[in-house]
């Protein structure tokens, strides 16, 4: 179909509403006024139906051929009635025999200022309900794709499973109870911000990945050397601090344990990250990333070569505590100075060896690290990382009741066919009752 492929989806001139999260579509939706079909005598009934059908078909599955939709169309409109168990227990149905056969009439009084109109069940808004059964449109409704066309693309490219089996027909009609899963990477690509073309990190990753890869270990090595130097100084101090060793000092286990100085540095950096915790800026996140990068070799020194970011904090926490324990006697002395000399000594003691993180700070750091772990910066992804929702997404965000979606696994269950209720219909359609009614009448083929 070359004609359909060449047609532009979003236009500002003579706009059409589409199943898409485009900003142009939002603008068109915002400025759309009631088309007022059938309000005057200028149009014949045929013309009214023609125009209404055109308005709605532009939205409902414009990528589906008219012939296909005509085959799909059903004049049978589904609806439900809410049955209150309490009412049903109190009445057996015979109360409906009163009046004209549908219960006693509630007559409004003449003196009432305003007579509320009886609520209707908008059956006509269900005109395009059979469309909602289609797999591609259900994927769009579950918010796994930014447009019905994109959803179709995902299906065709084998990114979608129905009940655990790859389904490559976008026209597959879901049955109640069917579960569909979309590849999470595709969903993140569809709903995330696009990757910046000229972004520095992206360009680096694409142009010279080996340079990048080289740079990182180099930095790590430098840091490692620093840490080792610090350990050396520490090791030289150890025998002095412990005069009670009898023969010769044991071989220092400096290479097994992270040093005080290294931990101090880390905690200092963590503090500096948390100092600007009020608004999480890009630079702060970069800082956090470098913090994690520094913490990793430290932990690998501690014998954990495969440490995940969440482990890091626990480990760091325990290290800080260990250091505290070693200082515990001194601390106790400081708390209870028995003699003035001791008190003076305590005062003259160098400031606490660790810039200790308090509980709140640790929690905040843990939260930041967890966020970083959940949503990492990854230049290999085809979307902007860390992932952020795309622009102009929130006005389109709704999930109809006939779907149950679990966003974590990018899966959804088609619970049942959409239905009409008193005062509401489940088919998401941009136009109201009258226009849907005209379109429904068009497809009844009695024109």
């Amino acid at each position: 179909m070359p004609r359909a492929a060449q047609r532009r989806l979003h236009v500002l001139r003579r706009p059409k509403l589409r199943q898409s999260w485009s900003k142009y579509n939002l603008y068109n939706l915002w400025r759309q006024r009631d088309p007022k079909i059938g309000f005057t005598d200028h149009e014949t009934f045929f013309q009214q139906k023609w125009r209404a059908k055109g308005l709605l078909r532009a939205y409902h599955g414009e990528h589906i051929k008219e012939r296909d939709w005509e085959r799909m169309f059903s004049r049978r409109l589904l609806s439900v009635a809410n049955m209150n168990p309490q009412y049903m227990a109190q009445n057996d149905g015979s109360e409906m025999a009163a009046g004209r056969g549908s219960g006693r009439d509630i007559v409004s009084k003449w003196k009432d200022d305003k007579v509320e109109p009886k609520p209707i069940t908008p059956y006509m808004n269900m005109a395009f309900a059979p469309m909602e059964r289609r797999l591609d449109i259900a994927i769009f409704r579950a918010m796994f794709a930014s447009s019905a066309r994109q959803a179709r693309h995902f299906v065709v490219h084998g990114k979608v499973k129905v009940n655990g089996k790859v389904m490559h027909y976008p026209a597959y009609k879901l049955n109640p109870g069917d579960m569909f899963q979309v590849d999470p990477d595709s969903v993140l690509f569809a709903t995330g911000q696009p990757k910046k073309k000229g972004g520095s990190s992206a360009r680096q990753a694409i142009t010279n990945p080996q340079d990048n890869a080289e740079a990182e270990p180099a930095a790590e090595e430098a840091e490692g050397a620093e840490a080792e130097a610090a350990e050396a100084t520490e090791a030289s101090e150890v025998p002095e601090q412990d005069p009670e060793t009898t023969d010769k000092p044991e071989a220092p286990k400096a290479d097994m344990k992270p040093t005080r100085q290294a931990i101090q540095k880390l905690t200092k950096q963590a503090k500096s990250i948390l100092a600007r915790d009020r608004d999480v800026s890009t630079s702060q996140k970069q800082n956090l990333r470098s913090f994690l990068k520094r913490a990793k070799p430290l932990l690998s020194k501690a014998g954990r070569s495969t440490a995940t970011p969440t482990d890091i904090l626990d480990e760091l926490n325990s290290m800080v505590k260990e250091l505290n324990l070693s200082d515990a006697p001194a601390e106790a002395a400081a708390e209870a100075p028995s003699t003035p000399e001791q008190a003076v000594a305590a005062r003259h003691e160098p400031p606490r060896s660790i810039e200790d993180l308090n509980a709140d700070e640790l929690k905040a750091l843990q939260r930041l690290i967890k966020e970083e772990e959940e949503n990492p910066a990854d230049p290999t992804k085809p979307y902007h990382t860390p992932w952020k929702p795309r622009d102009y997404m929130s006005p389109f965000a709704f999930i109809p009741r006939y779907l149950e979606v679990n966003q974590n696994v990018c899966s959804a269950v088609y619970l049942r066919h959409p239905v009409a209720r008193v005062n509401s219909a489940e088919v998401p359609t941009p136009f109201g009752y009258q226009i849907n009614q005209l379109a429904f009448n068009w497809y009844l083929r009695r024109r």
Partner: protein, 329 residues
């Protein structure tokens, strides 16, 4: 054609062109426009009034919709006379309904899988549709499976989407407001026609009788609703039974009905299993079933007839016919 006012850039590009006659044309100073043609002026970007209005909108009103609300919650188009949670300004009959949040889903899973409560009891307690309860548990199981396998969840996406939607959460151990009506009755097509059904005025014409009037085999509304046990519970309460006792009876009835359904399903599966003979080969599993070729219906055209019948074409491989599966087991 609009007059082209030579801008600063075009002047510089002209000078670049002069220079380019001496230097190679693809230097960094050369503008992209001078690379292709002979024109010295850069083409101006096409802009219409419509486009300008659109850009103006993105800077003013549209800016509110660019990002989700910082405090969370829905951010639908605001327009005059349209209530909250209506994404389409011209369709007041479509509402964006609340969805269960993470905590609510976890609670439902916990109740069903850990505490072993029946789906019906959970549905009635929390006011969540029966099919939705089952779906939540099913999806949660997939999520747990992913976690146990170390597969990465789409957590940032989930957080962002749930932040844009109206959500519903439950407090455990307290009476909660329901999410949706749970006892909805499907409007059967047979009940949509008007009937002229003369009866004596003195007669109690109940729902049971109405169902019989519509169709001989139709069940009454009391039996067709998803929670007939709830109606019984209300009847018990009306009789003066204590709420605790009525509740216990309801839970018992729900358990029994679910057990009955499970047994029925199991029986069916067992019968299917017994009727099938399976032969495993390295590549396929062959399944053989006994079929009576004489069961062809009255006119020999029954829909599930096996084998080829004279005069009955099989369309399943014909060109141009739809071969999209109608169900995935």
């Amino acid at each position: 054609m609009p007059p082209r006012i030579p801008t600063k850039s075009s002047a510089s590009s002209a000078s670049a062109l002069v220079r380019s006659s001496f230097v190679s044309p693809c230097t960094s100073q050369c503008l992209p426009s001078c690379r292709a043609g002979f024109s010295t002026t850069p083409s101006r970007e096409r802009s219409t009034n419509l486009r300008r209005a659109f850009l103006q909108w993105t800077r003013t009103i549209g800016a509110n919709y660019r990002q989700p609300k910082p405090e969370g919650g829905p951010n639908y188009l605001q327009s005059f006379g349209v209530g909250p949670n209506k994404p389409f300004p011209l369709n007041p009959q479509f509402r964006s309904e609340r969805v269960l949040d993470e905590q609510a889903r976890e609670l439902i899973w916990e109740k069903v899988m850990r505490r072993g409560e029946t789906l019906k009891a959970v549905s009635a307690e929390l006011g969540v549709d029966l099919t939705r309860v089952a779906a939540v548990v099913r999806l949660k199981e997939v999520e747990k499976d992913w976690i146990s396998k170390g597969k990465k969840l789409a957590t940032p996406y989930s957080k962002a989407v749930l932040g844009m939607l109206p959500t519903k959460s439950f407090r455990p151990g307290v009476q909660n407001q329901p999410l949706e009506p749970i006892n909805e009755l499907h409007i059967h097509t047979a009940t949509q026609k008007q009937l002229f059904w003369p009866t004596a005025e003195s007669r109690q014409f109940t729902r049971e009788d109405a169902a019989k009037a519509f169709h001989a085999k139709m069940l009454s509304a009391d039996k067709r609703v998803p929670h007939p046990e709830l109606i019984q519970m209300e009847k018990d309460l009306l009789k003066g039974m204590s709420p605790d006792e009525a509740r216990a009876r309801f839970i018992n009835a729900a358990e029994q009905s679910e057990r009955k359904a499970a047994e029925k399903q199991q029986k069916k599966a067992m019968a299917e299993e017994q009727a099938t003979k399976k032969v495993n080969t390295p590549r396929f599993e062959f399944r053989f079933k006994e079929v009576d070729s004489e069961l062809i219906g009255k006119d020999g055209r029954a829909p599930n007839v096996v084998g080829w019948k004279y005069g009955m074409p099989h369309y399943d491989r014909k060109k141009g016919l739809v071969k999209i599966p109608t169900s995935v087991p």
